[in-house]
């Protein structure tokens, strides 16, 4: 029995053992993401998720012929929330709605599926880069890191983007090692798709690509290599065409506003906050291990790719300095980078382990340690997912929507820039500044004249809705203005609606 275990089961490079283990890990990772599936998607980056939800519903209603005309028109109009990226996931979800009906959890399934499939690419990449054992641990980290689990259930393009980054890096490394056209084209397709889905993937992908070109292939040789040109062309083409189209037709030029803050580079607090965000979401332990591991990588074969990825991530952070510590999902593409970077250290660990611990017991002990390493974060995530219950939100917003009448002209200080009201209340609204909005404008050197902005933004509006009382308390001028000069149309402990059309006195 012992011999059987040693020879066939425990930590031998037996393909079927790894295939079964990997399949089980992918299934478990997917299953974990399905917990509390039908909870409204407010547990992670709710603004971004509701943005996609509104867009998908708008797209879906274009095909719904049996809906009342008013409802259909409202859904389409509320779905016109602007364009940030090509609506790939939204299109996929809206088409699925045509089969299943409108369910927000459809997106959660797609996102989870994409992330988990990304694990497959990551496994193949690390297997080639280091070893099968290292690939297993690296992939488990990618699949079960709590931040990744929560974020990869979200209705936003990032899970698909991260998965495509993993596939891109796998193809890139295969191309580096084989120089075959097949991998060059696959790299181009995956990279082009990743950039198309979300162009922020460019930093990591271009970083890795540049690392391979400069560190492995050589710049001179690469310039003369048609494969490199095809790869670069495929990489740029889809996103480039979309960007051009977006700027000319979709008014996307505003996308770059309030994103680039070079003056933060000279503020040490920025780097500490960045590091804190990384620590909070991914953990210093894995990140330091990954960073240290880059030192252990083969200088010719492995290190250029890894250094390229880290430099790409660093430039990404410097470019989006403000968002890098205020929007934690900007760290998502760092997860596969950390997982891949850990590979050389993991390879070394397993080499030493097999060298020093040939017996059955140490191997079973290691399996036990790995299982504990899976169970603890999984249970932690499960608790987080179960405890975050937002099922009372839809009815709350529906009540406000009914009160406002669905077609009123509203400005609001409400959660997620009015997207909750739009999605569940079927009522559009303009968003009044939050404190964070004001702060980011000050950071960008803009002056915010609140009174002037209030006059401009409320012109022609019927109602001012407040559901974020803390935010209102932090804007005493506006609070005083509203309560002094405007009658209350409706209020409960959770919201107040001011009637802007019938002021008590002129402000």
């Amino acid at each position: 029995m012992k011999k059987f275990f040693l020879k066939y089961v425990v930590f031998r490079e037996r393909p079927w053992v790894w295939k079964v283990s990997l399949a089980l890990a992918l299934l478990a990772a997917f299953g974990l993401r399905m917990i509390n599936l039908t909870n409204p998607p407010l547990d992670f980056a709710p603004t971004r998720q509701l943005f996609s939800a509104l867009k998908a519903r708008g797209m879906y209603y274009q095909y719904v012929t049996d809906a009342p005309a008013g409802e259909r028109q409202l859904a389409i109009s509320l779905g016109d929330v602007g364009t940030v990226e090509p609506p790939v996931l939204e299109t996929l979800v809206s088409q699925t709605y045509r089969l299943t009906g409108e369910h927000l959890w459809v997106a959660r399934i797609y996102s989870s599926l994409f992330w988990v499939l990304g694990g497959l690419a990551l496994f193949l990449l690390i297997q080639e880069l280091a070893s099968t054992s290292a690939a297993m641990i690296g992939t488990l980290f990618y699949l079960f890191v709590p931040f990744g689990v929560i974020a990869s259930r979200a209705f936003m393009p990032d899970p698909l983007m991260v998965a495509l980054i993993a596939f891109t890096l796998w193809a890139l490394f295969r191309w580096q090692n084989t120089a075959r056209w097949k991998w060059a084209i696959l790299f181009g397709i995956f990279a082009g798709a990743a950039l198309f889905v979300k162009n922020l993937s460019a930093f990591i992908i271009v970083g890795g690509f540049a690392g391979v070109i400069l560190g492995v292939r050589g710049l001179k040789r690469s310039i003369r290599d048609p494969q490199v040109w095809v790869m670069a062309l495929l990489l740029i083409l889809p996103a480039g065409i979309f960007m051009l189209y977006g700027m000319l037709k979709l008014n996307m030029t505003g996308q770059l506003a309030l994103r680039f803050f070079p003056k933060m580079w000279i503020d040490p607090a920025f780097y500490f906050r960045w590091a804190y965000t990384v620590n909070w979401n991914i953990g210093w332990g894995p990140v330091l291990l990954a960073a240290l591991s880059v030192f252990l990588a083969d200088p010719k074969r492995e290190r250029p790719l890894l250094i390229g990825l880290w430099i790409g991530y660093f430039i990404f952070g410097m470019t989006f300095s403000y968002h890098f510590y205020t929007h934690d999902y900007y760290q998502l593409s760092f997860i596969p980078v950390v997982a891949v970077s850990m590979a050389p250290a993991l390879r070394l660990f397993f080499e030493r382990f097999f060298d020093r611990s040939p017996g059955l017991f140490p191997r079973l002990a290691l399996v036990g340690v790995v299982l504990v390493g899976l169970v603890v974060p999984s249970w932690y995530v499960r608790d987080q997912i179960v405890n975050a219950d937002y099922r009372n939100e839809p009815s709350f917003w529906a009540e406000i929507g009914d009160k406002l009448g669905h077609n009123a002209s509203v400005i609001g200080l409400t959660e997620d820039y009015g997207y909750r009201l739009a999605y569940w209340g079927w009522q559009g609204s303009a968003a009044w500044f939050t404190n964070a909005d004001i702060a980011v404008r000050y950071l960008a050197g803009q002056d915010v004249d609140l009174m002037k902005t209030f006059t401009e933004d409320t012109a022609g509006k019927q109602y001012f809705l407040v559901t974020m009382f803390g935010e209102l308390d932090n804007q005493p001028v506006i609070k005083n203005l509203l309560y002094t000069h405007y009658p209350i149309f409706a209020q409960t402990d959770e919201y107040v609606i001011f009637d802007l059309q019938h002021p008590l006195s002129q402000p």
């Binding site: 500490f272 590091a275 804190y276 620590n279 953990g283 210093w284 332990g285 894995p286 330091l288 291990l289 960073a291 240290l292 591991s293 030192f295 252990l296 200088p299 250290a345 070394l348 660990f349 030493r352 382990f353 020093r356 611990s357 140490p362 002990a365 290691l366 340690v369 504990v372 390493g373 603890v376 974060p377 249970w379 932690y380």
Partner: protein
């Protein structure tokens, strides 16, 4: 031997010494940050208890002290039951005689002890011929944020943890050298650790058992005179202390009540909470790497030492189940255990880095290590800077004056009345808090009748003082009874305290 042939991180020994020295200086520096703030940031009940004991010891021999202050200070000291030998308190009291009474003296000693524990980790790594890995383990031990916070606390745990580390070093040295000198030293240090705080017996007994079991033959173990001497020297101080505490003074008897709660062991959530708390304290990644590291030790001796220590820690958790999930500092012995488990993994990685040609990679590694340390220091610094308690002194002093030091009081407080006792010089009997009641219920004790309890506990008391608004809110029966039957003679404007006159009940 491996040390001589393996690559070293720094070719010049002074560079390694400088790096270690830098770590110690930084570790002391971060612990001295916000030094003079009140010790409310970490288990203040335990810290104020030590402060009262130290002050009592000091005032007992302070000729310039006012008579009333001396008698109160000594009474407060004597009123504290014996839990552990008052070593830290005696040291602080002696220091008060030289520099005067300062609340931060205990903090400085605790910090210094923890740093001394770091030295033991470093020396153990040297004993293991894993000096390069010792650097990482040392940095982990010195800068783990929970460790930084806990090691500034005026309580015996910092000294106990340091002595655990020293005992593990001494036990390992004894096992490798097997001389009488090393045996006696191992016995003294292990005995000292257990004397400082008896719970150290769990990891140390486990580690010692693991170590001797690594010899393989039980016969040899039993026939070894040194083993018996080590056991004897270890046991003697604690046995004497317990005889003194149990049979001479008699105050130690109460220490065993409400500690062992077997009901918890049947509850699966207990294990989940235990795991989360432990992982949160020592960092999940570090715990995982440390467990895997056990498998990388070159010999059985250190492997069995750490496995034994882990086993002892688990038994400790079973014995103090309730405290394990309510008092984080009960997990402090795990920190040196995890740190030692990190040594082989870190050593493997660092030596591999040291194999790289040129100084750049080594410098980058040192930079990475220092960056990681800086991040952890920043995290700890932020926690300390955010929590400011200095303004509490005058509050408790004023309350003490309002009550009067001559009054006999019963108190409902959130800190067992320690702050009022320390700053206000007023001690009183304690009315059970909700947490006390919950613990008694968990232990299967019957809930006493309210009227009887009230009559018993308030007999002969002048005032009922409530200083904890949450407790006041959560004890409606007491609130209603006091309000209905006794006059409220003083109340804080912001509802910080309520004082009822028990001597003049309402008609």
């Amino acid at each position: 031997m491996e040390d001589k042939v393996s690559p070293k991180l720094f070719s010049k020994p002074w560079l390694m010494t400088a790096l270690v020295a830098l770590l110690f200086i930084a570790a002391m520096g971060i612990r001295l940050f916000d030094l003079t703030d009140l010790p409310n940031d970490f288990y203040m009940v335990r810290q104020y208890r030590s402060l009262l004991i130290a002050r009592g010891m000091y005032y007992a021999h302070l000729p310039t002290a006012l008579q009333w202050q001396r008698s109160i200070a000594v009474a407060q000291w004597k009123g504290e039951g014996l839990i552990e030998p008052p070593i830290m308190e005696s040291l602080a009291a002696l220091t008060y005689h030289i520099i005067g009474e300062h609340i931060w003296v205990g903090r400085v000693y605790a910090s210094l002890f923890w740093l001394a524990g770091g030295l033991a980790i470093w020396l153990l790594a040297k004993e293991l011929s894993m000096r390069e890995g010792g650097i990482i383990a040392l940095a982990y031990f010195l800068f783990l944020p929970f460790g930084v916070t806990a090691s500034r606390a005026f309580m015996p745990d910092s000294l106990m943890t340091a002595l655990i580390a020293w005992s593990l070093w001494a036990l390992y040295r004894w096992e490798t050298r097997h001389t009488w000198k090393t045996a006696v030293l191992a016995g003294i240090l292990t005995g000292a650790a257990i004397l400082v705080k008896s719970v150290a017996v769990f990891p140390l007994l486990g580690a010692a058992a693991g170590l001797v079991l690594s010899r393989g033959s039980v016969k040899r173990i039993l026939a070894d005179k040194q083993t018996w001497v080590v056991a004897g020297i270890t046991a003697i101080p604690t046995v004497i202390f317990y005889i003194y505490g149990l049979f001479i003074v008699g105050t130690l008897q109460g220490q065993f009540a409400l500690r062992f709660l077997p009901a918890l062991l049947k509850d699966p959530s207990f294990y989940g909470r235990w795991l989360f708390i432990a992982a949160g304290i020592v960092s999940f990644a570090a715990m995982f790497i440390s467990l895997a590291g056990i498998l990388l030790f070159r010999e059985n001796k250190p492997r069995f030492l750490i496995i034994g220590a882990w086993f002892g820690y688990i038994v400790y958790g079973f014995a103090f189940s309730y405290y394990f999930i309510t008092h984080e500092y009960y997990h402090l012995p795990l920190i040196p255990i995890v740190a030692i488990g990190l040594i082989p993994v870190a050593d493997l990685l660092v030596r591999q880095v040291a194999q790289q040609k040129g100084w750049l990679w080594r410098a980058m590694f040192a930079g990475l290590l220092l960056f990681g340390v800086a991040m952890k220091m920043w995290e700890s610094r932020n926690t300390m800077a955010t929590n400011q308690y200095r303004n509490e002194v005058s509050y408790w002093q004023d309350l003490g004056k309002l009550i009067g030091t001559d009054k006999s009081i019963i108190e409902l407080s959130g800190d067992y009345g320690y702050r009022l006792a320390y700053f206000g010089w007023v001690s009183g009997a304690q009315w059970a808090t909700n947490a006390d009641e919950a613990l008694r219920a968990l232990a299967g004790q019957a809930q006493p009748d309210f009227a009887t309890t009230f009559a018993d506990q308030t007999a002969g008391k002048d005032l009922f003082v409530i200083t904890s608004p949450p407790e006041w809110e959560n004890q409606p029966e007491l609130r209603e009874y006091l309000t209905a039957h006794y006059p409220l003679i003083a109340q804080d404007q912001s509802n910080g305290y309520w004082i009822f006159d028990l001597r003049h009940p309402l008609p």
